[in-house]
């Protein structure tokens, strides 16, 4: 008797189980006699597609809170027997783990384990924010593993946490190591003196394992969730983490890893990093760094480079003194360059920290300067580009265009800083400094007369053997009032200090700082959701209470809506 395999499904409406339970049920079903394959999923559209792709699809009507069980069996009786076994298999699992009472509510769990400072939340995204908010209301920090939390809820949760001196790591936070205890997906790593902050779980895990291999180890690793550094969230968690590790006496060096943040968030974070009083390695993966390092802040291109810098900083204990910030009153930087590549590198570097920067050679199309003759916002111009050189000499030889433009920019009351380059050498003008200095001096004098503080910085490229006399050129420029630097990196850092760095918002610094105990004391943890997280926390020696969480009103939306209204 060889018949076609049959696919049969069963449904448990409004029945929530964590994915580990589902996996075990699936494995147990597949091991039953005559069963060829089995799928056990919460019936979300994506999961149903996966089932269909494995030949386990069905037309049964089900929603995301329904448990869908599908078996492919050699015969009808085998399929029926497998489906009949579902409930008893689920029960076995429940009984096997029910040694102690599992509270149904977070508030009960807190009563049961008052020492717990942390609540790990990994329930489905649509419920996760409510659970996280309850945890905050109960005065607990939240490790929010769940994803699919709306970004506005993330922002409001984090604002609430910030106001109360609590942390929300996540949503979509994969990894943290706090006080030697790994949360979510993490590695068992030696304790050391490097503190990590990361918007990326696997990025943190890579650094954890690199630094463990280096025998350096980490003090804490604080995951923020992938959207923390977006404009909508504003890097609240990253800021709190920077502040914590700055104060943490077990941490000597900080590493901040993230995708490129929103520009305003970058500005604030770098400002905070530079005020940290400890070396901070910054790795914004995917954005060209604005240079090698600014005082205590070092920029890394890759995780591996970040690791190298961190080790170096740890050994040398370098650059801990906070930098001075120049205040100029204006807002914008205007760069008038004769060298196209110099202009481009400046653009690329500033792009990481000041966006948008308009240009006639823009990094992205939306930063193209609409009218090359009129600057707007931050503007970096390559005056050697074709549109400026038609019918005239290259600006390395003819300074007329630059002097006019210098005057134009200096007259703009919004401008804080003007950048120029001077390239010496054979073929270039015989005395570039002599050409530029009077214009610079006049611009600065006029600005001062108008009650403004304007600054001019000049990038001077050349060698001591060049015919123009490097020393003399530099001296002439400095006498005119310009600051003279010799590398693009220095010019970028100076620009950052003049127009980029924003001092801490007093409203933010006035808020409750997170107590250091939040990251040091992880002896007790409450877990809501995926049970394997509870098991691995317990295996690391933490006392854990698992909340037996279910969707409110068993997923009955009508009842849940009524209850929500009755709670006010």
């Amino acid at each position: 008797m060889s018949a076609e395999p049959v696919v049969r499904t069963a449904l448990r409406a409004g029945s929530y189980h964590d994915s580990v339970v589902l996996m075990q049920l699936q494995r147990a079903l597949a091991a039953l006699p005559g069963v060829l394959d089995a799928g056990v999923v919460m019936a979300t559209p994506a999961n149903r597609e996966l089932l269909a792709a494995s030949g386990l699809g069905s037309e049964v009507v089900a929603g995301p809170d329904d448990l869908l069980i599908s078996v492919q069996a050699a015969s009808e009786p085998a399929a029926a027997a497998a489906l009949a076994a579902v409930d008893s298999l689920l029960r076995v699992r429940a009984a096997g783990t029910g040694a102690d009472y599992r509270p149904r509510r977070l508030s009960t769990a807190v009563q049961q384990l008052p020492a717990a400072r942390w609540v790990v939340v990994s329930v489905p995204g649509r419920y996760a924010a409510d659970v996280a908010e309850e945890a905050l209301d109960l005065g607990r920090n939240v490790f929010l593993y769940s994803d699919n939390v709306p970004v506005d809820r993330e922002a409001s949760l984090k604002r609430k946490a910030r106001d109360r001196g609590l942390l929300v790591l996540g949503p979509d936070c994969g990894t943290a190591v706090l006080g030697g205890t790994g949360f979510g997906f993490s590695n068992r790593t030696r304790r050391g003196r490097i503190g990590l902050i990361g918007a990326s779980g696997t990025g943190l895990q890579a650094l954890l394992s690199y630094l463990d291999g280096d025998e350096a180890g980490i003090s804490h690793a604080i995951g923020t969730g992938g959207r923390d550094l977006s404009a909508a969230v504003g890097g609240i968690t990253a800021s709190q983490a920077l502040d914590l590790l700055r104060r943490d006496e077990d941490t000597d060096v900080l590493v901040l890893v993230s995708k490129p943040p929103a520009p305003e968030v970058t500005r604030r974070l770098l400002g905070e990093a530079r005020a940290a009083g400890k070396p901070v390695i910054v790795c914004f993966l995917g954005a060209a760094p604005p240079g090698g390092g600014w005082g205590n802040v070092w920029f890394a291109n890759s995780l591996e480079e970040a690791r190298g810098y961190a080790l170096k900083a740890l050994q040398e204990r370098v650059g801990a003194s906070p930098p001075t910030t120049f205040s100029t009153g204006g807002r914008w930087v205007r760069g008038l360059f004769s060298g196209g590549t110099l202009a481009l590198e400046i653009l690329l570097c500033l792009g990481a920290v000041l966006t948008p920067v308009y240009s006639n050679i823009p990094v992205t199309a939306d930063q193209r300067l609409p009218d090359p003759l009129k600057s707007q916002g931050h503007t970096i111009l390559d005056l050697g580009a074709d549109e400026f050189t038609v019918g005239r000499l290259h600006p390395m030889m003819d300074f007329d265009l630059r002097l006019r433009r210098l005057r134009q920019e200096a007259a703009d009351p919004e401008v804080a800083l003007i950048l120029l380059d001077v390239v010496l050498g054979d073929g270039a003008h015989a005395d570039p400094a002599g050409e530029l200095a009077p214009g610079i001096e006049r611009a600065l004098t006029e600005a001062r007369a108008a009650g403004r503080e304007l600054a001019v910085a000049v990038l001077l490229i050349g060698t001591a053997a060049d015919p123009q006399d490097l020393q003399e050129q530099s001296a002439t420029l400095e006498r005119s009032g310009a600051r003279v630097v010799r590398t693009v990196g220095e010019l970028v850092e100076h620009t950052w200090r003049c127009v980029g760095e924003r001092p801490r918002d007093p409203a933010e610094t006035a808020l409750a700082p997170v107590p250091l105990e939040a990251i040091r004391d992880t002896r007790a943890v409450i877990n809501v959701g995926i049970e394997t997280f509870a098991a691995s926390l317990a295996a690391q020696g933490a006392e854990v209470v698992q909340v037996d969480w279910r969707p409110p009103a068993g997923g009955n939306e009508k009842m849940a809506a009524l209850l929500a209204r009755m709670k006010r």
Binding site: G98, A99, P103, L562, R565, M566
Partner: protein, 418 residues
């Protein structure tokens, strides 16, 4: 009327505070016809929510027949059934007449009932006398020995108990219960300690008021042999406490849970006298030898008033011995109580559990929390045979259907404009 602005939490605190403040005193006994409000000769009270003869289960029908025989209104079973079918007998829930009765709960006009007075709020509640084990009316038995036993209780035992209580100046049932919980009772299925306390408190008075030594001996033996002797006054006491919590505007506290063998019904403090019902379930438990769940009648009796008042299954942690009924371990008893804290609004000020560090029992079932968590109240119960007259076949655990709480929640939202 308020629309959606009512403070449910405050209302619930008021309701449960009233429940805990109630001070039920057992003051005496009296004939139902004389003391139970609205009682009359052709009226039979029964357990649970309202039900017509046509839908009554076997044990309830048996008890009805037995009561009609006992009252002399019918000469035999056929006569009793004919009387009912002619419509000459009225039925009403005990709860509609300030009364509670275990299992079938059938109470007729000439039966003696305990009188309990709430010293704080002033209202009175009633319950009949417990018949003990074996073939008894409350399980639907109505054979001659059942009726003989009823006569003995009502004519011999009741007058002595009444005189003894009178001589004792009444008996504080809340204090008795609080002490019994410290002695391993939970007040519903296990009343061993409470019954012995009852015996201890009344014995000196019984010895003095009984007409003769034989009668005193009979009455003392009735109290001492029956580990459920105190159940009925305890139920009346719980009824007095629950009634104190009833009728608080805006409260979602459950003030009645009761079953008639066909339906499980609840009433809610802020929703007046409306019942919310759904088919009663068959308890999950252990059966006496020779019986199985196939013999079981759906859940029956007013004794869920104990859980309503924060004892019974809610106080399981105080009574680890009772877990043998459900084949569990003492840890399960603790778990049962811990779970009930999650659906209640307070911890009892007077009923405490030594094993939980003298934490108060969970009290005041909140409709909202039941629906939110999908956790229905636990109930410890005896299991009746589905046929009239067979009696108890086991004991175990049952929960009300979630539907009654959902239905009540919807009604509450409508009533208060949520």
């Amino acid at each position: 009327m308020t629309t959606g602005t009512i403070d449910i939490d405050a209302a619930n605190q008021t309701a449960v505070a009233r429940m805990m403040a109630a001070r039920p005193q057992l003051t005496g006994l009296g004939r139902a016809r004389d003391v139970v409000p609205g009682m009359r000769d052709n009226l039979l009270l029964h357990a649970g929510p309202p039900i017509a003869w046509e839908r009554m289960s076997g044990p309830l029908r048996g008890a009805v027949i037995g009561a009609l025989l006992y009252e002399g209104l019918a000469a035999d079973e056929a006569g009793a059934v004919a009387l009912v079918e002619k419509g000459e007998i009225d039925f009403a829930p005990c709860h509609h007449h300030a009364t509670v009765g275990p299992m079938a709960g059938v109470t007729s006009a000439s039966m003696q009932v305990y009188v309990v007075e709430d010293a704080v709020h002033g209202h009175r509640t009633f319950s009949n006398l417990n018949e003990g084990y074996g073939k008894v009316l409350r399980y639907g038995a109505y054979s001659p020995e059942v009726l003989d036993r009823l006569r003995f209780l009502n004519t011999t035992v009741a007058p002595v108990l009444a005189a003894a209580l009178d001589r004792a100046g009444g008996l504080d049932l809340r204090a008795l219960l609080a002490e019994a919980l410290h002695m391993g009772d939970e007040g519903h299925n296990r009343n061993k300690a409470g019954s012995i306390l009852f015996l201890k408190l009344l014995a000196p008075h019984i010895a003095r008021v009984a007409p003769d030594g034989d009668t005193a001996g009979d009455v003392l033996r009735y109290l001492g042999d029956n580990a459920l002797a105190v159940l009925n006054p305890v139920m009346a006491a719980c009824k007095a406490m629950a009634d104190a919590a009833h009728g608080v505007e805006g409260s979602t506290v459950v003030s009645t849970m009761a079953r008639n063998g066909t339906d499980f019904g609840i009433r809610v403090s802020g929703l007046g006298d409306r019942w919310f019902t759904a088919p009663a379930m068959v308890p999950d438990g252990l059966y006496f030898p020779g019986f199985s769940s196939a013999d079981a009648n759906p859940d029956i009796g007013d004794s869920t008033i104990t859980e309503t008042a924060g004892i019974g299954a809610f106080a399981m942690a105080a009574a680890p011995a009772i877990v043998t009924f459900i084949g569990g371990s003492p840890k399960d008893a603790v778990t049962a109580t811990l779970e009930m804290y999650e659906i209640t609004v307070a911890e009892h000020a007077h009923f405490t559990i030594p094993g939980l560090g003298f934490r108060g029992t969970p009290v005041g079932i909140d409709l909202r929390q039941v629906v939110e968590l999908g956790v229905t109240p636990r109930v410890n119960t005896g299991i009746a045979h589905r046929l009239a007259g067979v009696g108890q076949v086991g004991a175990g655990l049952v929960r009300p259907p979630l539907a009654v709480f959902e239905e009540a929640l919807v009604a509450f939202a409508e009533r208060y404009g949520f």
